[in-house]
């Protein structure tokens, strides 16, 4: 068996065991809650009675997965070179409020308007991530701490902006505050036609967010950058062995800055699916916490785009069951427990399986060289 395949299989086996264990642990919790685990797991797979409901549920799940996926990508860029960007949370919120506001100030054809908004969001996220990067490079400030502080600052700043300079009009009697509504040219077309192609009814709500396409392209693009380009190689080298990277001409300062800014720029996009796809403005109900969830998603996906996609779908799958679980009278907090336990176990099993893979690789190498045969010498 080729070494790569063996490693992949082992990883997969680890993930499966971890998930099975996580299910076992959450079953105990569900039992303790006086509910029936069977009902609970049925609820996870209960996508609704009618086709319409099923389509809705699938859309809900995919729509949830999109921002999680982007958040995971953002986090992963840094994590791959041991740069812990905990600040994705702040970066995406600030980027979202600014992008939503800028997008509402002008009207242009959709193919101009939407890219401009995306670029603004990426720029704001990237610039905000530049702060901890510069602090690290210039003054050696640990990025974990600085990004945590900057998260608080960004959250407050976003609140200030949406209430103050960026506030938009709103109908009487509505209490949520938001930026001005985006013109229709900024609404990202949805992907409902996919369902219609299969003769299914279109989902409700904002429909299947068209930003999904952007996310997929982003994932592929990032994969190419990380796996195939010089920049990606430099990131990998810095992550695996910083001093070797330094000695081989990788400029660590440049890497910290570019990886952080790239991470922040991707983070800037996290809020856009929601804003361009359904709310068409940044408001005080804007979904928080995606940056933190992104960390978990990235870890679960082992910092690789394909893995992150799977992890985002898994998280979205679990999150979607919020309603069905309550219909089945199971406490919905089981979801969070499952997510946490899965992350913890997957991470542990990753460790075990990768160690097993290394061992076997060493053995294989040694076998090929025949060094495991000691020389027989008379003492």
């Amino acid at each position: 068996m080729p070494a790569g395949l063996y490693r992949a299989l082992l990883t997969l086996a680890g993930a499966v065991v971890a998930i099975v264990l996580a299910i076992a642990i959450s079953s105990v919790a569900i039992l303790a809650a006086g509910a029936n685990p069977g009902d609970a797991f049925a609820a996870f797979f209960n996508f609704g009675e009618t086709t319409r409901a099923v389509v809705n549920s699938i859309t809900t799940m995919l729509n949830r997965a999109v921002p999680l996926f982007i958040a995971g990508l953002a986090v992963a860029v840094g994590f791959r070179m041991n740069l812990f960007n905990i600040g994705v949370e702040g970066q995406y919120r600030l980027a979202a409020v600014v992008a939503a506001f800028v997008g509402s100030t002008f009207v242009a054809p959709a193919w101009v308007q939407i890219p401009v908004i995306i670029v603004v969001a990426a720029a704001v996220g990237g610039l905000y991530a530049l702060i901890p990067a510069v602090m690290k490079v210039g003054r050696g400030v640990n990025e974990v701490i600085s990004t945590i502080m900057l998260n608080y600052i960004a959250i407050n700043l976003a609140a200030f902006l949406v209430r103050g300079p960026f506030v938009g009009p709103r109908p009487a009697g509505q209490l949520t505050i938001s930026t001005p509504q985006l013109p229709e040219s900024a609404w990202f077309p949805n992907l409902n036609f996919i369902f219609e192609m299969f003769g299914l009814p279109a989902p409700r709500g904002g429909g299947l967010w068209g930003f999904l396409v952007v996310a997929i392209l982003l994932g592929i693009g990032l994969w190419i950058v990380l796996e195939r380009t010089r920049f990606g190689f430099d990131i990998k080298a810095s992550g695996l062995n910083a001093s070797a990277a330094l000695a081989s001409g990788v400029n660590p300062k440049k890497m910290v800055i570019s990886a952080m800014v790239l991470s922040g720029a991707i983070a800037g996009l996290i809020g856009l699916p929601e804003i361009l796809g359904s709310t068409h403005a940044y408001n005080t109900n804007f979904t928080p916490g995606l940056g933190f969830l992104g960390i978990a998603v990235a870890l679960l996906g082992r910092n690789k785009p394909a893995g992150i996609a799977i992890a985002a779908l898994l998280f979205a799958f679990l999150d979607r069951a919020q309603g069905p679980l309550q219909f089945a009278n199971v406490p919905p907090s089981v979801i969070v427990i499952m997510q946490g336990v899965i992350v913890l176990l997957v991470v542990i099993f990753n460790e075990i399986t990768s160690r097993m893979a290394l061992r076997s690789e060493e053995r294989r190498a040694a076998r090929r060289l025949g060094t495991d045969k000691p020389v027989e010498v008379a003492a």
């Binding site: 380009t229 070797a244 330094l246 081989s248 990788v250 040694a366 060094t371 000691p374 010498v377």
Partner: protein, 536 residues
């Protein structure tokens, strides 16, 4: 523990049938060994023969898969080093085992702390350390941070650590590797003293004359098995011992005819480096003046006005005790650390260039620590081939990494340098040290560099690989490569170099002709014992 009795009947240490397997490697295979109390017992063997593993087993750090250990006649099984410490065994490791941020005292007492009313009794510890230090001539200041110590001091701390625990059996794994001959002599005096007090010393070294100088008995290990165990008197020469070790003739690094040309490949001019971080020289001041001012203020210079030229086809060796500025010199030339002064490559000033640009313009670099600076252990061999050559053919095409070409070129290195590996996709950590080193040498030689820094190119590499690496260096030199060679192996230095400089406290203190210098005299310069620069 009655090792002080006259009865020679009971060996201090007896090992019987020790076997230890690592994944893919049998490090020790049915080792048998008896060590008499009150003697210095040397253990010799090639790199990777299994010496350190055996000692770690004896010290409780590794568990043997099979076999029996007897200490002073009683059977023992060790679960951890503390079990070994309890029966009076102490070990000085091949690599320093010190916590840099702790003081000398803390490092010494760790694990055997004197206590009073729950407190660490610092006063008693200090007194005890002072006593021990005086008794054995191992001077150190117990309150200094280990971080600030030089290698010699660190070695002394390591030995004090062992003595402090009242060890009666001392294991010294290559204690002399980082010492100069004078320091070695000092250490040997200490060892003889300890022996006289009835202690047993197990001593590992690759330097056979040292072994012959100190040992009462010698055991030779080859490929994990004891091949001979003899009293000193039965060995007549280092050559005989060496042949026992490798089972064949020894290769020697000998340079044939000189290939030195007139063209200067690399010129270093007045290179200086502060110890506390780079600061730009004030305008209008010369580097020399600036450096003098720094020294007048009592600041130390890591590099002090280092100047030399290397011609095409020349190997310039730098000898020196570790920590005298070699690493800094290399890092300054590579652009990893900022320094004052000029560096020019083929007449072009490169002192403001980035590391990357320097590499691109033809500098190759075999780093001193291959695991730290030379390899991505968890990446494949072809990716390691790309490392340092990301911007050069064949690894790169535009912004992309050319994977196919990189793989193909890795295959070439594997062939030409005889890297023993299943393939180019194997992870680097699966290779043995020697093979890793060959890969690095192959990588750094590719792309026809104009100038190569070779830092300890054969450290920890076994005899066969060593000879191969020397050959490659010589061939490249003949083809016009300029080499800066830094090595702790004086024979290698003397044998390969066309010119030899000695670095001491950041200064080049002597320029010697390798054809008529002995390791002893070299050692004299390296320790500052000889200061005359008559040969400069």
């Amino acid at each position: 523990m009655s090792s002080d009795t006259l009865a020679p009947a009971r060996p201090a240490v007896e090992l019987e049938g020790i076997t230890k397997r690592f994944p893919g490697v049998v490090a020790n295979h049915d080792i048998r060994l008896a060590i008499q109390p009150g003697t210095v017992h040397a253990i010799c063997g090639e790199n990777g023969a299994g010496k350190s593993t055996l000692m770690k087993i004896l010290y409780g750090m590794q568990k043997p898969d099979e076999g029996q250990i007897r200490v002073n006649g009683t059977d023992v099984t060790f679960r951890s080093p503390s079990d070994a410490i309890n029966v009076g065994i102490g070990m000085v490791h091949q690599h320093f085992m010190l916590a840099d941020n702790l003081t000398v005292l803390e490092n010494i007492v760790l694990g055997a702390e004197p206590k009073r009313a729950g407190r660490l009794d610092v006063a008693r510890a200090r007194k005890r350390i002072k006593e021990l230090a005086e008794a054995h001539g191992l001077r150190v200041d117990p309150d200094r941070l280990v971080e600030d110590l030089g290698v010699g001091d660190r070695q002394r701390v390591e030995i004090l650590k062992v003595l402090y625990r009242g060890a009666r059996i001392l294991i010294l794994d290559e204690p002399t590797a980082v010492l100069v001959p004078q320091e070695v002599e000092e250490l040997f005096d200490n060892l003889r003293e300890l022996k006289a007090e009835g202690l047993t010393v197990i001593f590992i070294s690759h330097k056979l004359d040292e072994v012959l100088g100190i040992a009462d008995a010698i055991t030779v290990i080859r490929r994990g098995t004891t091949v001979a165990s003899l009293p000193r008197s039965e060995i007549s020469s280092a050559r005989q011992l060496a042949e026992l070790m490798v089972g064949s003739e020894l290769p020697t690094p000998e340079t044939r005819e000189s290939t030195v040309t007139e063209t200067v490949a690399l010129k270093v001019d007045g290179l200086s480096m502060e110890s506390d971080g780079f600061r730009p020289v004030p305008k209008g001041t010369s580097i020399r003046l600036y450096a003098d001012k720094l020294k007048a203020e009592g600041k130390r210079l890591l590099l002090d006005d280092v100047s030399f030229e290397i011609h095409k086809g020349e190997i310039l060796g730098i000898a020196g005790v570790e920590g005298n500025g070699q690493s800094e010199l290399i890092e300054a030339i590579m652009g990893i650390r900022q320094a004052h002064g000029g560096i020019s490559l083929a007449g072009q000033d490169i002192s403001a260039w980035s590391t990357l640009k320097r590499r691109e313009s033809g500098i190759g670099y075999i780093p001193e620590d291959r695991h730290r600076q030379g390899l991505l252990l968890e990446a494949s061999l072809w990716e390691n081939r790309v490392l340092g050559h990301q911007t050069q053919k064949p690894a790169r095409s535009g912004i992309w990494i050319n994977r196919r070409a990189a793989r193909a070129d890795t295959q070439r290195i594997i062939r030409e340098y005889d890297v023993r590996t299943p393939g180019a996709d194997t992870l680097a950590l699966a290779l043995s040290g020697g093979n890793q080193q060959k890969l690095i040498v192959g990588r750094e030689m590719s792309g026809e560099p104009a100038f190569l820094i070779a830092a300890h190119p054969t450290r920890g590499v076994d005899v066969g690989a060593q000879a191969a690496i020397w050959d490659h260096l010589r061939d490249a030199r003949a083809a016009g490569l300029a080499v800066l060679l830094i090595s702790a192996d004086l024979d290698e230095l003397i044998g390969l170099s066309d010119t030899l400089h000695v670095i001491y406290r950041g200064r080049l203190v002597a320029r010697l002709d390798p054809s008529d210098v002995t390791p002893e005299r070299l050692g004299g310069y390296m320790t500052g014992a000889i200061t005359a620069t008559e040969e400069m």
